[in-house]
């Protein structure tokens, strides 16, 4: 198994000649075994990126490699759950699982797929068209996990789920990923949904990679400072807001910080929001090959 789950170089995609770029000059590297959150606002290009990784789209320029090869060649070794959870509405749950087995004859793990479905207490003879959104998501996830993928691509997996179903499914997913060492790439525009389950972050804004790297490294590379309005020269200021004489700023420290500042480590949400509010802030890549540290065990915490 390659130690890189996914890598992009100069990846760009334009739909039609007159439309703008959905992705532009994307470059990043995701080590295997990580749980990676792809975050960004609606329409940022998250779905386009995942569809490229799944081999459903061809890049207009640049390359994207998956599990050390092209997405088409890695088809058998990865699973993809699209945003709207497409399933054949005329099939029953049991027939859908049989469909999965027949579409993945060399990889299918029936027990895993059936367990995911059974955990949701789904009626095996129910047609897909009568299932609720949460139940459909569970069947889609059963199809994906039944394939026993090395790389699992999930596009907004938890959208339109109630909090309880979200919690349950995330638990199922993370437990399975931890057990098999699966690399998970999960997109969401709800950052809170991913905090606590991911250890790697890819922030996409306007089709470009704004932040890429291990979550902890990204968080420690930034500091949230509060204090009387003062100069922040020598530091990279991502965002700064002043109310009265008090200034709050998210910075990438470039040296010693004056003692007047109160400093805290930002949360993922603060980090993401600050970067999205400041589109002109420079991007930060902490995922280059030489800066790579051995992948830490995936935490199954939810």
């Amino acid at each position: 198994m390659s130690d890189t789950a996914m890598a992009a170089a100069g990846l760009g995609k334009r739909f039609g000649r007159r439309k703008g770029w959905a992705l532009r000059e994307c470059a990043f590297r995701l080590p295997a075994g990580r749980v990676c959150a792809v975050v960004g606002p609606n329409g940022a290009g998250k779905s386009t990126l995942l569809a490229h990784a799944a081999g459903l789209l061809r890049p207009t320029e640049g390359t994207l490699t998956v599990l050390g090869t092209s997405p088409a060649a890695a088809r058998e070794r990865m699973a993809y759950v699209a945003q709207d959870k497409p399933l054949h509405p005329q099939l029953t749950v049991a027939e859908t699982l049989r469909w999965g087995r027949e579409m993945n004859p060399r990889r299918w793990d029936r027990a895993v797929a059936e367990r995911v479905v059974a955990d949701g207490a789904l009626d095996l003879d129910a047609k897909i068209r009568v299932l609720s959104g949460g139940q459909r998501t569970r069947v889609a996830l059963a199809l994906a996990l039944g394939k026993r993928p090395e790389l699992l691509l999930l596009d907004e997996p938890m959208a339109d789920l109630d909090p309880l179903a979200r919690h349950e499914l995330m638990g199922t997913l993370m437990a399975d990923a931890a057990e098999h060492g699966t690399t998970v790439v999960m997109s969401s525009h709800v950052v809170a949904e991913l905090e606590g389950s991911c250890d790697h972050v890819l922030l996409i804004g306007s089709g470009r990679v704004r932040l890429a790297g291990p979550l902890d490294d990204l968080l420690t590379a930034h500091t949230l400072v509060t204090g009387p309005a003062a100069d922040l020269d020598g530091h990279t200021v991502i965002e700064s807001r002043t109310t009265g004489r008090q200034t709050t700023a998210l910075i990438r420290p470039g040296g010693r910080l004056a003692g007047t500042w109160q400093r805290t480590t930002p949360t993922l949400e603060e980090l993401v929001l600050a970067h999205l509010r400041s589109p002109e802030a420079p991007s930060l890549h902490l995922d280059s090959d030489d800066a790579d540290d051995p992948a830490e065990p995936v935490e199954a915490a939810v």
């Binding site: 459903l56 088809r75 299918w108």
Partner: protein
Amino acid sequence: MTVKTAPAALERPGRAFALQGLVRVTLRLHRPALRFWLLYVAVAACALLWIYGFALDAAFGTFSRSGCRERVVEQACDYSGTERAQLGFAESVARRLIGLVPLFAAAWAGGSLIGRELERDTAQLAWTQSVTPTRWLAAKLAVPAALLVTGTVLLTLLHRLMWDRHSELWGSAGTWEWNQSSYFVANGTLATAYALLGLAVGALAGLLARRSLPALGIAVVALLTLASVISSLRPHLWPAETLTRKTGYPQQSTGMVVGDGVITSSGSRVPDPYCAYDECRAARDVVGYYRDYHPSSHFWPLQLMETGIVLAVTAAATAAAFWLLRRRTA
């Protein structure tokens, strides 16, 4: 087919199983269409068998008893009688069912087989399993193609059976024209070829439109256009035979007419000036009349030439569909 494995073990069957699986998947996803096709073939086949085994003889019995057989010129008595009406109805239903297969195939392939799958993203779901888009499309086309060929070949054979029985009984007194388009198609390889063309055109329309309803519309319009263009070429696909006569057209009504007109003394063919008298003919240098036509012995050459063209267009549409799919996906 049973493949027993321990619950926790990965199933690792061979390539043959993978192929069978893809066939089963295609059949299961389109079960209503499969049922419809079986019913369709059954209805047409029953009608043809009924005509062959019963209706033709019954109609011929009344026809003979009425004495019409000896007086062929009196057309009125050709079309009377309940048996004759029943025969005519059943025969036209069966023939039209055969003729409509390509249209149904195109509408279904565009709207349901491909268009709906792309619209609902279930095609994308399939492509992210272990099956490449190319193999997915190959299965989508091969399984219905096999069923269409089986069904249309069966119906064609039954139609020929009925046709031969009719010729046997009526002989030259028959009113069924071999060159009338729906008989011509139902009696040969064209019924199958046009059905396959419908499937290919529908699949291409589905991939182009990527939505169910527009794909259905495009498929139907494209098929009707192609079929009318190709069948308009029909009389020109084989060298015609020529009949000539000094005054008035040769009596040749039971063949496929390609063209007619008058011949001048220099031997050139010109449009008919519609002369009633010899003076008129002489003034316009008309020395004779000609008619180009296909006798019934040209049935197979014409049939096979057109089949070749239809299959070539089918192959082109299929190639275009694969090309389009490969260009879009990785």
